[in-house]
C-alpha cells in the first residue's frame, strides 16, 4: 500500500474508534439527538411568538440558524476526546506506532462529520414536524446540507486545536460555551439583525455566523443569496486550512515536550 492509502486507512480506523464510543455513552448520544430537538422546540414555542420575522414564519427563519449553531458545536467531541487522549497517555501509544500520526486528529474530525449528519437529520425531521418547509429545489437543499457538513467539519478543527491547547477535558468543553455560543447569538441565527441595537448590528453584520446563516437561508428559503454562499464556503475552507495547520503543529509540540 502507498503511504496515502495508509494515511486513509489509519484515519478510518481512528474515526471508527471515535464513533464506537457514541452509542455506548448515553450522554453523548443525547447531546447529538435530544439536545438539538429541545432547542428547536424551545425556540419555536417559547421565543417564537415574541420574535418578529417579517416575511417568514418563525420556524422557517429559525431552522437554518439553529442548524448552523448546532453544527458549529458538533466538534466538541473532538476537543473532549483529544484532551482525554493527551491526559491518559494514549497519544504516546499512537506516536510510537508506525502510523500516519495526523490520523489521530483527522480520525476525530472525520468521525464528527458522521455525528453531525445524525444531528442534522434529526433536526430537519423535527423541524418539518413543527412546520418547517424548504422553498427551494432539491439540489439547493442538498447544497445546503453539504455546506453545513463542511462548516461543521471546519469547527471540528477549531475544537481539535482547543482540545490540544487546553489543560483538561473539562476546560476544553467550557471553551465552546464562552466563545462560540455567544457568537452564534450575536448573528442573524435567531432574530433579524435589524432588531438589534445599532452597535450590535454592526458586529452581527461582520460576524461570519451571519454570513453562513444567510447563505443557508438562501439555499433553503430562497432568499436573495448575494455573495453569502461563496463567502460561507470561503470561511469554512479558510477555517479548515488555518486550524488544521495550527492543530498539527500544536499536536507535534504537545506530544514532544
Amino acid at each position: 500500500m502507498s503511504s496515502f492509502s495508509y494515511a486513509l486507512s489509519d484515519t478510518m480506523v481512528l474515526a471508527r474508534r471515535s464513533l464506537l464510543r457514541i452509542p455506548r455513552a448515553p450522554d453523548l448520544l443525547l447531546a447529538f439527538t435530544v439536545q438539538p430537538i429541545m432547542f428547536v422546540l424551545l425556540f419555536v414555542y417559547v421565543f417564537g411568538g415574541a420574535i418578529q420575522t417579517p416575511g417568514f414564519d418563525y420556524v422557517d427563519f429559525l431552522m437554518p440558524g439553529i442548524i448552523v449553531q448546532t453544527m458549529s458545536f458538533g466538534g466538541f467531541v473532538t476537543a473532549l476526546g483529544l484532551a482525554e487522549d493527551l491526559k491518559k497517555g494514549l497519544i504516546d501509544r499512537f506516536r510510537s506506532l508506525p502510523m500516519w500520526h495526523s490520523a489521530v486528529l483527522a480520525g476525530r474530525t472525520v468521525a464528527d462529520v458522521a455525528t453531525n449528519m445524525l444531528s442534522l437529520v434529526v433536526m430537519i425531521v423535527v423541524g418539518m414536524l413543527v412546520g418547517f418547509s424548504f422553498a427551494t429545489p432539491w439540489y439547493e437543499v442538498l447544497a445546503g446540507v453539504g455546506l453545513m457538513l463542511l462548516f461543521g467539519y471546519a469547527f471540528s478543527w477549531v475544537f481539535a486545536y482547543v482540545g490540544l491547547s487546553s489543560s483538561s477535558p473539562e476546560a476544553s468543553q467550557s471553551f465552546g460555551f464562552i466563545t462560540i455560543f455567544p457568537l452564534t447569538f450575536a448573528s442573524s441565527a435567531f432574530v433579524p439583525v435589524d432588531s438589534m441595537p445599532s452597535w450590535l448590528q454592526t458586529f452581527a453584520e461582520i460576524n461570519p455566523f451571519t454570513t453562513v446563516v444567510d447563505a443557508m437561508r438562501a439555499l433553503w428559503l430562497d432568499t436573495p443569496a448575494g455573495n453569502d454562499v461563496w463567502a460561507a464556503l470561503a470561511w469554512s475552507v479558510g477555517l479548515i486550512v488555518v486550524f488544521s495547520w495550527l492543530s498539527v503543529r500544536r499536536f507535534r509540540r504537545a506530544v514532544s515536550a
Binding site: D92, R93, S96, V255
Partner: protein
C-alpha cells in the same frame, strides 16, 4: 542472541531549566533485559521517550534494533512496542477492540489484526472480559491489556516504563512472568523501575540512573558486590538521637560512615564473631535504645544507597503517579 539491540550514547535533554538527561549512555544486547533503575525524576521516562521515538534528544545519538531513533523513526516504530506507567488503552472500547485497533495501526491488515487480538486476549487471560469496555477493568487487567497492546506486532524490542507501579503483588507477579516469557522468546526488553526487587528479578544488566546519567552499570550481582559485602541494620527506638548512634557505631564500619533513614541505621560490616554483641554494647553505652538489629546480605537498595547516598524509593509513595512530570 548476538548483536546490540539498544545503544544510546551521550543523550542530553533539557526542559527549560531542568536537565532531564545529562549524558546518558545505555546498552542492551539482543534477547536480554536492561533494567533502568532510579528514583522519580532521574530521567528514566525521558530516556524511554527518546528511545521509543516520542521525542528527539538535544544531543547524542541512539539506535534501537539497528535503526537510528531520530533518522529512521518511522521504520523503527514497526520494530518496537511501548507500555507506559499509566495504561494507555481506550476506556470506551472493549479489550479486543483496543488490540484490533493497534494491529490495524501497525498496518497488519484486518483479519490478521483480529486473529492477533484473539491470541493475545487468550494469552493474557482476558477472555472473560474481551467484549467488555475497558472502563470496567481493574488496574491489573488494564496493565495486562496495555502490555498486550505493546506486543501486538511481535516487536523485537519492548519498552516498559514502570510496568508494575501501583499494582498489587499478585498482578506484579503475573506481569513479571509474562515479561520473562517474552524474553525467553527472544525479545529485548528495556524496563524502567524504581523497585529494586523488580530489577533484581528481571534484569540481566542494570543501569542505575540519577540526575540524568548512569552512575553505575552491571549485573545485579556486580552492583551488590560494589556495596562491599554484608551490612548491619539497626532499627532505632523512637526517642533516641540518631547522631549518637552513628558516632557509636562508626568505628565498626567497614566502609562509609553509618547513615540513618527513617530510623533505620545502615552500614557495611565485616562479618566476624561477636559483632552484633559489640554493636549492642556500643549503642547501650551511648544511651541509644534499639528495636531491632541484624546483619544481612546486600540488596539493590543498599547498592543504590551507597551509590547515591540516599534511598531509591525516597519519595516513591507520594509521587507514585507523577513520573510523567519529568517529561511534561
Amino acid at each position: 542472541m548476538s548483536g546490540t539491540a539498544i545503544l544510546a550514547e551521550d543523550l542530553h535533554k533539557r526542559f527549560g531549566e531542568t536537565k532531564a538527561l545529562d549524558g546518558l549512555d545505555l546498552k542492551a544486547e539482543e534477547g536480554t533485559v536492561l533494567g533502568v533503575l532510579g528514583p522519580n525524576g532521574a530521567g528514566k521516562t525521558t530516556a524511554v521517550r527518546i528511545l521509543a521515538t516520542l521525542m528527539e534528544p538535544d544531543q547524542g545519538r541512539a539506535t534501537v534494533a539497528g535503526f537510528d531513533v531520530a533518522k529512521d523513526a518511522q521504520a523503527l516504530r514497526a520494530q518496537i512496542g511501548l507500555a507506559g506507567q499509566y495504561a494507555a488503552v481506550d476506556e470506551n472500547l472493549t479489550g479486543k477492540e483496543n488490540l484490533e485497533m493497534v494491529g490495524r495501526l501497525y498496518h497488519m491488515g484486518k483479519a490478521p489484526s483480529r486473529e492477533r487480538a484473539d491470541q493475545l486476549i487468550e494469552y493474557f487471560e482476558l477472555g472473560f472480559a474481551a467484549d467488555r469496555m475497558v472502563k470496567t477493568y481493574s488496574g491489573g487487567m488494564r496493565r495486562r491489556l496495555d502490555l498486550a497492546a505493546a506486543m501486538v506486532a511481535r516487536p523485537a524490542v519492548l519498552f516498559l516504563d514502570e510496568p508494575t507501579t501501583g499494582l498489587d503483588p499478585r498482578s506484579r507477579n503475573q506481569m513479571w512472568e509474562t515479561i520473562e516469557a517474552r524474553v525467553a522468546a527472544g525479545t529485548t526488553v528495556l524496563l524502567t523501575t524504581q523497585y529494586l526487587d523488580e530489577a533484581d528479578r528481571l534484569a540481566d544488566r542494570i543501569a542505575v540512573v540519577d540526575h540524568g546519567k548512569v552512575i553505575a552499570e552491571g549485573t545485579p550481582a556486580d552492583l551488590k558486590a560494589r556495596v562491599g559485602g554484608e551490612r548491619l541494620e539497626v532499627t532505632l527506638a523512637d526517642d533516641c538521637d540518631p547522631e549518637a548512634a552513628v558516632s557509636a557505631l562508626a568505628p565498626m564500619s567497614d566502609g562509609e560512615r553509618p547513615a540513618v533513614s527513617e530510623r533505620i541505621l545502615s552500614m557495611p560490616l565485616q562479618r566476624r564473631k561477636g559483632e552484633i554483641a559489640e554493636a549492642v554494647r556500643r549503642l547501650d553505652e551511648a544511651g541509644v535504645g534499639i528495636e531491632d538489629i541484624g546483619v544481612h546480605e546486600p540488596t539493590l537498595d543498599d547498592a543504590f544507597f551507597s551509590l547515591t547516598g540516599r534511598p531509591a524509593e525516597e519519595k516513591a509513595d507520594e509521587e507514585g503517579e507523577s513520573g510523567e512530570e519529568e517529561a511534561a
